[in-house]
């Protein structure tokens, strides 16, 4: 593919912002969103008058509680933006699909500077009850009947992605001999990284014994393989590359993105459950760049469940399909001084479920050299940020301005 055809290179990341992050902080979703958004606008060196595009995932939804709660309309009106383009929705290539929408908008000239945001308040919504991000459809009595995909899972007591991803992990363990000790390196590494992130939720050290002995959620996934519900908002400014002169500092470049879904769009009908849709998104990414996996300096890869991160590592070619277990063995390859530092902020397992946007945020900070105490010793030039699991996946290859 010719470079002139790689339209995403007409877009850049101009700024990032993130609200207070925590457990049960009981702030309104819109309040968190505006904190992140205004920080991102200021970080870019822009004002709200410059923002002419708005994008979000998943849009305003009431259910599951805390999964959203703020959409395009609320932010548009609160900031009295004058928009030329906007898009909010759920049917996208993963959470970062909203950012891909923004990239497309600026690359086609529909907007100059797009504010992208993702807000969760699942910890507050959960309160002292069960996990809010799971729609069980039950427990409340009444005549609820499941439709769509849920009709194939809810009758079997399988309402959670923990169950669906658990089955994918089990298949991987079966085909390739992957072990819990190998998978556990993701949770343990992220916990160690989280200790250097002042916004992280869990920072006390985790040992392999801690990991192996914690309770099971859905085999082979234990509690520490599951991300932690959080409250928080993350925002980015995606700008036209030819407007980079408007910005406070050199932007992060978008080298390529991957949004493909070439198999069936389904958690249980996808052809190869050990790869998931991120196989396709990652393949598309490498079709759009001359860079290779060996050129990547830092990987920020979705971990709604740790097995998804393993699958991303394989899909992106840091190791071969099926070799994720041996690749993770001992944990040294994914450490901050390893061959591919992974989830340097602590991931969603320890830093909180900011639902995909946290990885992109961290990738940008690392490329700008602004990650504070957790900034990698060797300044990264190329970062990959991927989000989504199961039939949802989107991935960005980002580079430092030279």
């Amino acid at each position: 593919m010719k470079a002139a055809e790689i339209g995403e290179r007409k877009a850049v990341v101009a700024g990032v912002g993130q609200s207070q992050v925590g457990r049960r902080i009981y702030r309104e979703a819109l309040d968190l969103t505006l904190e992140a958004s205004l920080e991102a606008i200021e970080d870019a060196g822009l004002t709200r008058e410059d923002i002419d595009g708005l994008a979000t995932y998943p849009g305003n939804m009431g259910i599951p509680p805390g999964f959203s709660g703020v959409g395009i309309t609320e932010v548009h009106d609160a900031l009295r933006l004058n928009l030329n383009w906007f898009a909010g929705g759920l049917e996208l290539p993963g959470q970062l699909g909203a950012v891909a929408n923004a990239v497309a908008a600026v690359a086609t000239g529909l907007a100059n500077h797009v504010l992208c945001f993702r807000t969760v308040w699942e910890a507050s919504a959960q309160g002292d009850k069960g996990r809010a991000s799971v729609t069980t459809g039950g427990g409340g009595g009444g005549g609820y009947r499941a439709t769509g995909f849920q009709q194939w899972t809810l009758p079997y007591g399988a309402p959670s992605a923990a169950n669906w991803i658990g089955m994918m992990a089990q298949r991987h363990f079966h085909e390739f001999g992957t072990t819990r000790e190998q998978l556990g390196q993701i949770a343990i590494t992220e916990r160690r990284n989280a200790a250097k992130n002042p916004k992280a939720i869990y920072t006390e050290p985790m040992s392999m014994d801690d990991y192996m002995n914690v309770r099971m959620v859905s085999t082979p996934l234990c509690l520490y393989d599951c991300d932690v519900p959080a409250d928080g908002s993350t925002a980015f400014i995606i700008s036209r590359a030819d407007r980079a002169g408007d910005l406070r500092r050199p932007p992060v470049r978008i080298e390529a993105l991957g949004t493909a879904l070439r198999g069936r769009p389904s958690w249980d009908q996808f052809d190869d459950l050990t790869t998931m849709a991120l196989r396709d998104a990652a393949a598309m990414l490498w079709e759009r760049t001359d860079l290779k996996p060996a050129d990547v300096d830092v990987a920020e890869l979705y971990d709604g469940f740790s097995f998804i991160t393993l699958a991303w590592l394989e899909a992106l070619g840091f190791c071969k399909h099926g070799e994720g277990g041996p690749f993770l063995e001992g944990g040294s390859r994914i450490a901050p001084d390893g061959e591919i530092p992974l989830n340097t902020h602590g991931g969603q397992l320890s830093a909180g479920r900011l639902h995909g946007f946290g990885f992109f945020h961290e990738a940008c900070l690392q490329l700008w050299g602004e990650a504070g105490e957790r900034q990698l010793a060797k300044q990264p030039e190329v970062a990959v940020a991927g989000a989504g699991g199961g039939p949802l996946a989107g991935v960005f290859l980002l580079t430092r301005s030279r």
Binding site: V134, G138, P155, G157, S218, P220, Q269, L273
Partner: protein, 142 residues
């Protein structure tokens, strides 16, 4: 254990009733293409292979193999007590013809990928949920 555990039930609509009600007659039913023989799941108005709209409700053998599974330990529902086994089973009628289900009739520790299983139905308020149980040992050995 006379009282049945709580289950969220599917909505019964014309497009899916063959699947959810077939158990009343002991049949695991799917749409199958009259022109190319393709088995559809979930149901759709058109064959994804040949785009024919000529589809007929057809009973599968009821045999399957455990493609993958998980032992769920999380108490998602009152009165549906863990541990229980959630599985994706694959049917011999066609590669990739799969269902999410529960494996019943054995201990969770006894479930293995590749294990032969057979459909068994349970009636919940007129919805016949297809579960799968270990096939007869003689069959498993074949």
């Amino acid at each position: 254990m006379s009282e049945k555990p709580f289950r969220v039930l599917p909505a019964i609509v014309p497009e899916t009733e063959h699947f959810w009600l077939g158990g009343a007659e002991g049949e695991l039913r799917f749409l199958r293409c009259d022109d190319c023989g393709w088995w559809l799941h979930p149901p759709a108005p058109i064959c994804p292979q040949c785009l024919s709209r000529s589809l007929s409700v057809t009973a599968a053998s009821g045999d399957a193999v455990v493609h993958t599974f998980t032992v769920n330990w999380q108490p998602w529902y009152p009165n549906l007590d863990p541990p229980y086994v959630i599985a994706i089973v694959e049917l011999p009628e066609q590669e990739g013809l799969r269902l999410t289900t529960n494996i019943v009739g054995c201990e969770p520790d006894d479930v293995r990928i590749g294990m032969p299983v057979r459909v068994t139905f349970e009636d919940y308020d007129g919805v016949w949920l297809p579960f799968f149980e270990p096939a007869e040992p003689a069959k498993a050995a074949s």
